[in-house]
Structures are given as structure tokens and as C-alpha cells.
């Protein structure tokens, strides 16, 4: 058996043809991708906005309407700072009852969990320093164990009415302390992550929330869902 002959390019294919083939297919592919991108981008953006709006409705317990407050140079502002991209600024959402009284803030935050970044949103009443609810927006925690932080009704419902700062305890060591959250057996790291995200976000936001509360007179905001 002889060794196969090394691959010899046919001499009759000039370099310009190779360049033309790749250049042309690249150009066609590029045009096609731009076209599909333009077509799908608005739908993707709308999906994201809808998911966020639904989460705000849930954690603030169906507010009549809410304001979007942007975090800009260490303070909350209702007006978008000039030249800033609203999609890139961190924002909190201040919900109101129909009669104009405040419900509380919806704050989204993320930190590393057991597998990947865990992103969640929670409702917080800054007057009583009590949480209103919590919803996990994105997580890749272990199915069946860590993903109970979003699927277990018993765990999620604890975040309604618990007082900040939160303290995670094992279920059998639970006392009647209003700061306590029972952690999930077998998902200690994921449970701690949720508690840590909320505590860290509140620690960071609390001064801003307080100064906004002192400065701003409650005014009519945009209608919910906008």
C-alpha cells in the first residue's frame, strides 16, 4: 500500500477566484444577517420589556402605576440624564396604589450563584423596611435542588413580609425573628445567594432611597406597563 499523494491544489484555480468566492459569500451572509437582525430585534426587546413589567407587577403586588427611577451619580432621578441610554442605566421602579400612596420599590440585582449569575427582582417597602416579594429573573441553578429558589412556593412566599436585613436560617432552627428566611435543604448556596443579593442591593440602594424619599414630593407617575 502506497502512502496517499499529498494534496496538490489544481494550478488552474487563480487566487482571485478564491478571494471572490469567499468575499461574495461573506457579503451575502452579512446582508442576510443584518436583515434578520433588524427583523427580530424589536420582538426580542419587547419580550424582555414584557417580562420585566410582569415581574414588577408581581413583586409590587399589582401596583396601579409605577415610576422608573434611574440611578445616576449616586442618586435616584426620575428624568433620564441627558445623553444616557435608558437600557444601560440601572433603574429601580417605584410603585403606587390607585390613590397615589406609595407601595414600595422594585429593585433588580444580580450576583454569582452556584452555577452562574442569579438575577432577581424584589419588592421593598422602604417605609417599614419590609420586603413585598421576590422573583428570580435568570438563573442556571441545579435542576431539582438549586432551582427551588424560583420554583418552590414555600421558599418564594417567605419574601413577602420579611424584614430587612435578611438572615438565612436552617428550617429546624427557625425562630419567630421577622428577619429570618428558611433556607432550602440541599440548596444552601443558592438560598444564601438570594439572601445575599437582596441584602447587598439594599445596602447599596438604601441611602439613595432615603434621600429620594426626603427630597421628592410624591407626584403622579406614568401608568403601569409603560
Amino acid at each position: 500500500m502506497t502512502a496517499p499523494a499529498p494534496f496538490q491544489p489544481k494550478p488552474d484555480v487563480p487566487a482571485w477566484r478564491l478571494l471572490l468566492t469567499l468575499g461574495l459569500s461573506g457579503a451575502v451572509a452579512g446582508f442576510l444577517l443584518v436583515f434578520v437582525y433588524q427583523l427580530t430585534l424589536p420582538i426580542i426587546e419587547r419580550n424582555k420589556a414584557e417580562r420585566l413589567a410582569a415581574a414588577i407587577q408581581e413583586v409590587l403586588k399589582a401596583p396601579d402605576h409605577y415610576d422608573t427611577l434611574y440611578v445616576s451619580s449616586g442618586a435616584l432621578t426620575k428624568a433620564l440624564p441627558p445623553g444616557a441610554d435608558p437600557g444601560k442605566l440601572e433603574a429601580v421602579y417605584l410603585g403606587y396604589h390607585a390613590d397615589g400612596t406609595r407601595i414600595g420599590y422594585a429593585i433588580a440585582s444580580q450576583e454569582p450563584g452556584f452555577q452562574d449569575q442569579v438575577r432577581l427582582i424584589f419588592g421593598y417597602d422602604d417605609a417599614t423596611k419590609t420586603l413585598l416579594g421576590m422573583k428570580v429573573l435568570e438563573s442556571k441553578e441545579t435542576p431539582g435542588l438549586g432551582d427551588k429558589i424560583e420554583k418552590s412556593e414555600a421558599f418564594v412566599s417567605q419574601f413577602d413580609g420579611v424584614e430587612a436585613p435578611l438572615k438565612g436560617v436552617k428550617a429546624r432552627e427557625a425562630t419567630s425573628d421577622p428577619h429570618e428566611v428558611d433556607m432550602i435543604t440541599g440548596a444552601t448556596i443558592s438560598s444564601r445567594t438570594v439572601i445575599r443579593i437582596i441584602n447587598d442591593a439594599l445596602e447599596r440602594m438604601e441611602p439613595m432611597l432615603e434621600s429620594y424619599r426626603a427630597a421628592a414630593v410624591p407626584a403622579a407617575g406614568t401608568k403601569a406597563g409603560q
Binding site: 491544489p9 489544481k10 484555480v13 477566484r17 478564491l18 468566492t21 469567499l22 459569500s25 461573506g26 451572509a29 442576510l32 444577517l33 434578520v36 437582525y37 427580530t40 420582538i43 426580542i44 419580550n47 424582555k48 417580562r51 435568570e138 442556571k140 441545579t142 435542576p143 431539582g144 435542588l145
Partner: protein
């Protein structure tokens, strides 16, 4: 290369040369994203779309592409279809797109697709290449479903969880075997399917041998 009929072009990929279960190609998505039936179906359909589109285009331009740059051109074509599929999935089924993660983009390097271009679409007519792509694509979906169904039923007790068609197939106090939706479950499920398939194949060859030469097999049995 027209030694096969159109039916053979189509059905070959579904069972006899199933890309995952027989050729052992594309195992990465078959292990990684088959933890639920919905994920398996969407991944299967995305791969089917990319495979069919690429085979169609490659068989159309096969005369125009010089041999020296054919692989680059095929990869470019495949990558374009994958990106189109990626953006379409993100727009239409955002939840499943999130669950599939990087594996949609990784269809580019799925060897099933490049193998069909290099081995078939670049040498055959448009019609036959399409039939071949349909067959292989359906074969991939079948394999994904075989994996996904077993894993979701045992690991979660449901079928099509997370969609409107959710069914609870194991009622009562069944504690789901969580390991089946985790990575080890993928290897276990694939292993058991391959075991069953090779057992069937062995039995089939044994029977064919008895059919062809019954006296010889009987004599050997007596001797043993």
C-alpha cells in the same frame, strides 16, 4: 453516486445511519440539552433547519466553489443559518432559547451538518441532497426525542414541562430521579439506548446468518 434510490436517501438517515445513535455524531447537543422534551424538540428543529438550508445551498453552489476554499465556504453558509436560527428562536421562544444557552450557537460546529455537506451535498444533486438532509434532520430529532422523553419522564415526572401541553405522566408519590435531568443522566440514557440498539442489531445479524446457512449454525450449536 446514484446507487441509492430516493427512498433510501431519505430513510437512511432516520434509522439505519441515524446520526446520533449509529454514527455517534452530534453527541454534545444530544447529551447537553435533552433534559426536557421541549428543549430537545427546539434543538432538533433548529438543527434540522440549519442542515436543510445548508444542504440546499451547498448543493446549489457546489460547481462554483473551488475545492481549496470549500470547507470555509460551507462553514460560512452553516454559520449564517445558525445565526438566523439563533435570532429567530430568541424572538419566538425566549424561555427555551435561554435554556439552550450556547448550544444554539454551537450548531455551527455540529459535525453532523458539516459531514453531510462534505460527504453528500457537495457531490449530489439538489433534490437528493435535500432528501438526505431531511432524513438526517428527522433522524436527529428522533434521537433527541428518545433522549429527552426518557430523561424528562424519569427526572421530572412530566412531558413537555414549561409549555402549554404539559402532561404529568407519573402520578402520585413518585420522587423524580433528579440525576436524569443532570449531566450524568444524559450519559446514562445514551448508554442504555445504545445498549438496546446494539442488542437488536446483534440479534438481527444472528438471525440473518441462520437464514443464510441454517445447517452450519445448527452444527456449531451441536458441537458446542
Amino acid at each position: 453516486m446514484s446507487d441509492t434510490t430516493p427512498q433510501q436517501d431519505f430513510f437512511r438517515g432516520i434509522w439505519r445511519e441515524n446520526p446520533v445513535l449509529i454514527q455517534m455524531l452530534g453527541l454534545c447537543p444530544a447529551l447537553a440539552v435533552t433534559n426536557s422534551v421541549a428543549n430537545a424538540i427546539v434543538m432538533g428543529i433548529a438543527t434540522f433547519f440549519v442542515l436543510t438550508g445548508s444542504s440546499l445551498l451547498v448543493s446549489m453552489v457546489k460547481k462554483l466553489v473551488p475545492g481549496e476554499v470549500r470547507i470555509s465556504t460551507y462553514i460560512l453558509i452553516i454559520a449564517t443559518f445558525v445565526t438566523v436560527a439563533d435570532m429567530t428562536l430568541e424572538a419566538l421562544v425566549p424561555d427555551i432559547h435561554k435554556a439552550l444557552g450556547a448550544f444554539v450557537a454551537l450548531i455551527v460546529v455540529n459535525c453532523i451538518i458539516l459531514a453531510r455537506q462534505e460527504a453528500f451535498a457537495s457531490k449530489n444533486t439538489v433534490g437528493r441532497s435535500l432528501l438526505d438532509a431531511f432524513g438526517t434532520g428527522v433522524g436527529f430529532i428522533v434521537a433527541m426525542l428518545m433522549m429527552g422523553t426518557v430523561r424528562e419522564v424519569l427526572g421530572n415526572g412530566t412531558i413537555l414541562d414549561g409549555t402549554a401541553l404539559r402532561m404529568k405522566v407519573i402520578p402520585g408519590n413518585f420522587e423524580p430521579w433528579v440525576i436524569f435531568v443532570l449531566p450524568p443522566g444524559g450519559f446514562l440514557t445514551l448508554g442504555f439506548w445504545l445498549l438496546i440498539i446494539s442488542w437488536f442489531q446483534k440479534r438481527r445479524t444472528e438471525r440473518a446468518r441462520i437464514r443464510e446457512w441454517p445447517e452450519g449454525v445448527a452444527a456449531r450449536k451441536e458441537a458446542a
